[in-house]
């Protein structure tokens, strides 16, 4: 069960107020029933046929044959096409905009700027993070007289074809008056810095703090105070499918339908209703096939509001906009971008007594949905898998003339883990200890474990995962071989990270939006089963996992189960897929709904079979049949009876459908240990990865094949951050990594072979025992790789380098070290 942080004093404050933000508040869970009264999946289905097995995905046949439909693949009759004119300036006043020529161009239906749209569509919204005095600027869907980042939408062309719309964009003439731009978040805090938003006093959007334990005491008792500045650079999520929106408004039916590439159709529906001032009942959001998200589609975007508004203007003709890759890189949310100043109070035996972390988060020009919330997660997770007695994060969220940051795979936790795992290695280096021993020394060992930042870790066995990883990697042997290589003058390094992350977002009281998830399971008269889930998979394979769960609960084949998601028109309600929550929260909702359908089917079967009361209490499913005593009915027959309505048991109603809203009692805290070996080329600074080993613990595995897939993909993204990726803006705010020619998404040749294993430490937060695995690889890998590179460079006296560890940076560090006396 989830616990509070106990008696330790924990405070989280905004700048001026002591009121704790909602997302951070967490007390004993009341929502979930005690474990003793709960039916756990493995009690109900002791020998599952599908759950836990490496089942092939149901999604795949359509995807490997090109028959799936992403937004761009949808074609509606009479569809119009939208292209958007975007700001080439980081900061400028729009002096004038001439659109007549564009309006008259062949195939153009209309050209729209702020003044034509503003009455139809309000500002881009944010989920209120509960941070007092949060400054939120005006954020229109088309620029209102001023542009604040390169790529900000300024006008939209609607035309008969995409080619015509694109041609017309070139005919719009905008006169901009360039204004001074501010790009560096630290410079943005200077009193004389140019202001991103003239209506605000300065560029500070918010301050926030979380602390616990006695820091003064910790720093007094420490043998040494280690200081380090650590940066988590700005990243571009780069889902392979760019964003895209189709919107259609049917005037007669008063119905707006929006097809969009999103992770959160239901939240989007609620927000669009607010932006467009339409009753929610008149808005339907559909996420068709979604080609990757990684947090970048966990948002409400200007274009979603804009297209909806345009759809009303050209009703009933549908309008379609498909983002180009350049637009995607400039105007879809970025990730990370934090600078942390660290002070670490450490003892000579490797014990860390306390950590102070002063963080500046570059949030870009505006607030998107979770912009302010993401860096607070870094503060909350600052303790990592260790029992630091005291920790404090102060956070400043700063406006700059760049694309807003928001969730990107891991969202706040990779930053925290990177900091902590660098700390562990800094401490090891400082006292000349083995990094493994420093970690062992500090591990949290008693669960539930209360962190100084107020979280309660459900379960964990960090040492077990570490030991298994050490064995898998042959750590001892590897260190011995490293010593030999060093003697030969080679720069070989071994790095590790032992992470814990916060997952399965989460209890509602810990979330800015709801933390629950819904599911409906319904059985048709012919016995086919539909699962409607509020989660919205975009590659995770929930169609398969939820079918595994449902088929096992109902004793049927997976083929009989169709999982539907992504359409607010048929899924009753939902929150979405993000934060490694889909299986732990959404899967549990499916389990609970299926369980309720099963109970009812048992009753219907008993009634239809004329079973005695004693037999009725012991109806069993075996080989796809419901058995009461020696008589049986097939699954389909029971389904038919439930709909036929003649043998409905007393107290029941006809039909076969259950909807369940699952509210978890706590977050879950998956963990693991990643080890990486690298060799650095002394002459070129190139890093080559010689081996990678990972042991992750995501609780009970639902489908090991899919877990491996999630871990591999996560590691690739973490490796991208460690070695290659960085969104580079020049000092005037131009995005220099504006295409995939300059922004390096890892390729097949960049990846080493990944040796992955698991430990299994179930959680009792949900009846599946599942913790979540979507972000684990990303969180674990970045510090393991960076630690390995720094370890390789240790003989040269190098203690830290900022990411990405591109060859030139490493080469310069080597050169500088060589030149040092």
């Amino acid at each position: 069960m989830a616990k509070t942080a106990g008696k330790k004093s924990v405070t989280r404050t905004g700048k001026a107020s002591a009121k704790a933000p909602r997302r951070a508040r967490q007390s004993a869970a009341k929502a979930a029933p005690p474990a003793s009264q709960r039916v756990d999946f493995f009690k109900l289905v002791p020998k599952p046929r599908f759950v836990g097995k490496p089942v092939k995905r149901k999604e795949d046949v359509r995807l490997i044959t090109g028959a799936g439909h992403y937004v761009d693949d949808l074609r509606l009759a009479d569809m119009l096409h939208v292209e958007i004119l975007r700001s080439p300036h980081a900061h400028a006043r729009i002096v004038s905009m001439e659109v007549e020529e564009a309006r008259k161009a062949s195939g153009v239906v209309g050209v729209f700027a702020y003044k034509e749209i503003s009455s139809l569509c309000g500002d881009v919204p944010l989920a209120h993070p509960g941070i007092p005095d949060l400054k939120v600027p005006h954020h229109p869907v088309l620029a209102d007289g001023e542009v604040n980042f390169v790529g900000e939408p300024a006008a939209a062309v609607v035309a008969e074809s995409r080619y015509a719309a694109r041609d017309a964009v070139d005919l719009i003439r905008v006169e901009y008056e360039p204004l001074p731009a501010v790009v560096d978040p630290e410079k943005a805090l200077a009193p004389d810095a140019p202001k991103v938003h003239k209506e605000l006093a300065d560029n500070l959007s918010f301050s926030w703090e979380v602390k616990g334990g006695d820091l003064d005491e910790a720093f007094k008792k420490a043998d040494r105070i280690i200081q380090q500045r650590v940066r988590s650079q700005r990243l571009i999520p780069c889902a392979l499918e760019t964003r895209g929106v189709i919107a259609q408004y049917l005037t007669g039916e008063e119905q707006l339908t929006v097809w969009t590439s999103t992770q959160i159709p239901h939240i989007l529906r609620t927000q669009l209703s607010g932006m467009l001032k339409l009753p929610e009942s008149k808005v339907r959001v559909v996420a068709p096939e979604v080609g990757g998200g990684f947090g970048s589609k966990l948002n409400v975007y200007a274009e979603e509001g804009l297209l909806s508004a345009l759809a009303r203007l050209v009703a009933p003709r549908p309008v379609k906009w498909i983002e180009t890759r350049r637009e995607n890189m400039a105007a879809t949310t970025h990730g990370r971008d934090q600078i942390g100043e660290l002070s670490i109070a450490a003892c000579a035996d490797g014990t860390v007594l306390g950590v102070k972390h002063d963080c500046i988060a570059d949030i870009g020009a505006y607030h998107q949905l979770f912009t302010a919330i993401i860096p607070t997660l870094t503060g909350l997770m600052l303790a990592g898998s260790y029992r630091f007695p005291a920790a404090r994060t102060t956070l400043k969220g700063v406006f700059t003339n760049k694309m807003p940051t928001d969730a990107y795979r891991g969202a706040g936790r990779p930053e925290a883990t990177f900091i902590i795992e660098r700390i562990m290695d800094l401490v090891a280096a400082e006292f000349n200890l083995d990094p493994v021993e420093v970690r062992r020394k500090n591990f949290a060992r008693k669960f539930p474990f209360s962190t100084p930042t107020g979280l309660a870790y459900d379960t964990g066995d960090y040492e077990k995962a570490l030991n298994q990883a050490l064995k898998l990697a042959d750590y001892q042997g590897r260190r011995a071989r490293q010593a030999k290589a060093r003697d030969e003058g080679r720069l070989v390094g071994i790095g590790l990270s032992t992470y814990v992350e916060i997952c399965s977002m989460g209890p509602s009281k810990g979330m800015a939006a709801g933390g629950w998830e819904s599911a409906t399971v319904r059985v048709s008269p012919t016995g086919s089963v539909e699962v409607l889930t509020g989660t919205c998979a975009h590659g995770q394979g929930q169609e398969t996992v939820f079918a595994q769960i449902t088929a096992d609960v109902l004793g049927i084949e997976m083929d009989q189960v169709k999982v539907q998601r992504g359409d607010t028109g048929n899924v009753p309600w939902g929150v979405g897929t993000f934060g490694s929550r889909a299986t732990a929260v959404g899967g549990t909702a499916v389990f609970e709904a299926a369980r309720r359908v099963l109970e009812k089917m048992k009753k219907v079967a008993a009634a239809a079979l004329g079973a005695s009361a004693a037999q009725a209490a012991r109806v069993q499913i075996k080989n796809g049949k419901f058995w009461a005593g020696k008589k049986s009915l097939s699954f389909a027959e029971v389904a038919f009876q439930a709909h036929r309505g003649l043998v409905i048991p007393e107290g029941e109603t006809p039909g076969l459908e259950a909807t369940y809203f699952f509210e978890p009692g706590n977050f879950t805290f998956p963990f693991g240990a990643h080890i990486c070996q690298v060799e650095v080329d002394r002459d070129t600074g190139e890093v080559s990865i010689q081996g990678y080993w990972a042991v992750d613990d995501c609780g009970k595995p639902m489908n090991p094949l899919l877990i491996d897939g999630q871990v591999h993909g996560g590691i690739a993204q973490g490796l991208g951050q460690a070695l290659y990726e960085e969104a580079v803006y020049d000092e005037s705010g131009q995005l220099l990594t504006g295409t995939l020619m300059d922004y390096a998404v890892p390729k097949a040749t960049h990846m080493p072979w990944l040796h992955c294993e698991r430990t299994e430490t179930p959680t009792d937060v949900n009846p599946l025992g599942v913790k979540g695995v979507g972000e684990a690889g990303t969180i674990g890998s970045t510090p393991a790789i960076v630690n390995a590179v720094i370890d390789a460079l240790r003989p040269l006296g190098i203690k830290h380098l900022d990411m990405p560890l591109r060859p030139e940076k490493v080469w310069r560090a080597i050169k500088k070290a060589a030149a040092a006396p």
Binding site: G738, T739, D742
Partner: protein, 148 residues
């Protein structure tokens, strides 16, 4: 941001060179790709350019203004050019230094150009080289001009 500097020896004295460098006809000939250059205010010229490197071509429209003029020593060129593929704004400080040989001048220039739009987001790696080539082209043409 493109920053580059260089110098060039021109076989004319500073006094001779000074008016030449403000002559619209000369400027039009020497500025690479210049299709139109019209005086439109004090030391202010409206310009239309077609700049190209191989197949990569862009049309730009803008202004060139000379400020901080200290005859015959130095001035600042303020450049603003915009086109479909992006824009370039910036300044070039120009110094005319006496050369040991009396009939020659050393022109030193130092440019700070802010490039934006498509050319910055896809062509950043080539901008520095492009700017340098344009400067070289300018002086090459200027010399040709002076020879005739």
């Amino acid at each position: 941001m493109i920053e580059f500097k260089g110098s060039h020896i021109i076989s004319r004295s500073r006094q001779e060179l000074w008016p030449i460098l403000q002559d619209p006809a000369v400027l039009k000939r020497c500025i690479p790709g210049c299709e139109e250059l019209v005086l439109n205010g004090e030391h202010l010229y409206d310009v239309r350019l077609k700049v190209g490197f191989g197949m990569i071509k862009g049309s730009f429209q803008g202004t060139v203004q000379l400020t901080n003029m200290v005859e015959p020593e130095r001035y600042v060129l303020n450049i603003k050019a915009e086109g479909r593929t992006g824009f370039a704004h910036g300044t070039t400080r120009i110094q005319l230094l006496p050369h040991p040989s009396p009939a020659a001048t050393e022109i030193r220039f130092e440019s700070h150009l802010q490039v934006g739009g498509m050319i910055a987001s896809v062509g950043a790696r080539l901008c520095q080289g492009a700017a340098r080539m344009l400067a070289e082209q300018f002086f090459r043409e200027l010399e040709k001009c002076l020879r005739n």
